[in-house]
């Protein structure tokens, strides 16, 4: 695929975390984000799992 030139200035959508979801992958992500709340978030080295 070729990324078209005319899309590249379109802002990304603003997506609020839903309070509830039945989607299993999104639910796991939301649970992970709740677990991160209050912690110091740093970027982890990529070459470690």
């Amino acid at each position: 695929m070729t990324l078209p030139a005319d899309d590249t200035r379109t802002p990304l959508p603003e997506i609020a975390p839903p309070d509830h979801t039945d989607h299993p992958v999104l639910a796991a992500i939301l649970a992970d984000l709740r677990a991160r709340a209050g912690e110091v978030v740093v970027a982890q080295y990529e070459d470690a799992p």
Binding site: T8, I15, L26, V42, A43
Partner: protein, 402 residues
């Protein structure tokens, strides 16, 4: 004498920002590998510094490194750190050196404070016997595996020094780990765009890892990755997006997974989704979170992350060594400080890009161009935009109330 780019080395005032303490220590146990993967940025790349280093880390260097980590924990009152036992192949001489290094760090940190030490060894799996796995598990050390897919063809580039495939031994390790979920940290998979993305994804999840990360092959504007043409650095559009296409195919399979038994985390996708939902990233591949990782080489040299070696000879060096310097000294190194600046480290094109806060300019080394350094968009810029916009579209449709 190394020639570093002017930014950050000459022009960044490293005292003008508040450094973030290291929380992740990448400890080189072995300086050599029994494999000779054709795409390895460490042994096949432009930096040959590994040839001058000891093959293994001595007990003296392990002990000194452990003391330095404990010193850093005390100074910054850290309640948790991670150690990554790395190489080369860290299990090259069996589990003994890995166990000794982890124990040295835990003992030193235990004396310093009540800080939790999480230990992981990242291996190619070829030396991971049942006995080795037992000993690592007994010591509370989890295991990460490097694989490029779950079938022999996916791993054809992973060969030993005689050209023999590593797959059968690595597969045996993956099967052992699948039976030991408490010891299984996950799989790191370097993308081969010539491979079928769905075949790679499905074959990997059949190995039952708790997590997978898909890594873009380390490349720069001077050494573009397979499938992308050489161009001057910049935010080129229109542009082909073979890596973005590959990853979106995997994302859709993961997002739409119907089998409830498959709940494999995929770090890159999870972090992009987190960023789109307004949270900071835990990965260096995307987002603007400060990198809090540092490497200790087999001779005790304190270095920046290995990926920088894909840029130029000596790119990861700091000139510091645990035998003479603290980790706090490394926090003031321009290369380390640059990785903690967030948006202030980005190129102008990235600052004006609507995707910039999510992709974060991509992996730092992928921004490098010979002669002008690291303040460029990623060589994967168009691929990252393709992936981020696709995930944003899928996430928006899933998250919106129906």
């Amino acid at each position: 004498m190394r020639t570093h780019p002017a930014w950050p080395y000459d022009s960044l005032d490293t005292h003008a920002h508040e450094p973030v303490p290291f929380r992740q220590f990448v400890l080189k146990v072995q300086g050599r590998c029994n494999l000779d993967c054709t795409y390895c940025y460490l042994y096949q790349g432009p930096d040959h510094g590994w040839r001058d280093r000891p093959r293994s880390t001595s007990a003296r260097t392990m002990h000194r490194t452990a003391q330095r980590i404990a010193e850093h924990v005390r100074t910054h009152r850290l309640d948790a750190v991670r150690i990554e036992l790395h190489g080369g192949e860290p299990l090259l001489l069996g589990p003994g050196p890995v166990l000794a290094y982890a124990e040295a760090v835990r003992e030193a940190v235990r004396e310093a404070a009540g800080c939790q030490v999480t230990a992981t060894v990242q291996t190619n799996g070829t030396r991971l016997t049942d006995r080795t796995l037992d000993r690592l598990a007994d010591a509370g050390i989890r295991v990460g595996l490097s694989l490029d897919g779950g079938r022999p063809a996916h791993n054809a580039r992973r060969v030993d020094h005689a050209g023999r495939p590593a797959w059968s031994a690595a597969r045996a390790a993956a099967l052992r780990l699948a039976e030991r979920p408490e010891s299984y940290a996950g799989i790191l998979c370097t993308i081969d765009v010539a491979a079928d993305p769905l075949d790679v994804y499905r074959s990997l999840v059949r190995l039952r890892p708790p997590g997978v990360d898909f890594l873009l092959p380390h490349a720069t504007w001077g050494r573009p990755p397979p499938g992308l043409d050489s161009r001057s650095p910049g935010r080129h559009r229109p542009a082909r997006t073979p890596y973005g296409d590959w990853l979106t195919a995997v994302f859709d399979a993961w997002w739409d997974e119907k089998d409830p038994r498959i709940r494999t985390r995929i770090r890159l996708f999870r972090e992009i989704a987190a960023l789109l939902l307004g949270a900071p990233s835990r990965a260096e591949a995307v987002g603007l979170s400060p990198l809090a990782a540092v490497v200790v080489e087999t001779d005790g040299a304190i270095e920046q992350v290995d990926a920088l070696r894909a840029a130029y000879e000596g790119a990861s060096e700091t000139g510091l060594n645990v035998h003479r310097h603290s980790f706090d000294r490394a926090l003031r190194h321009p290369g380390v400080a640059a990785r903690q600046l967030g948006e202030r480290a980005l190129a102008d094109e990235c600052l004006g890009c609507p995707v910039g806060k999510v992709c974060g300019g991509g992996n730092y080394v992928h921004r490098y161009a010979p002669g002008t350094g690291f303040r460029h968009p990623s060589v994967y810029c168009a691929d990252l935009e393709r992936l981020v916009r696709h995930i944003a579209h899928r996430l928006e449709r899933t998250a919106l109330p129906s």
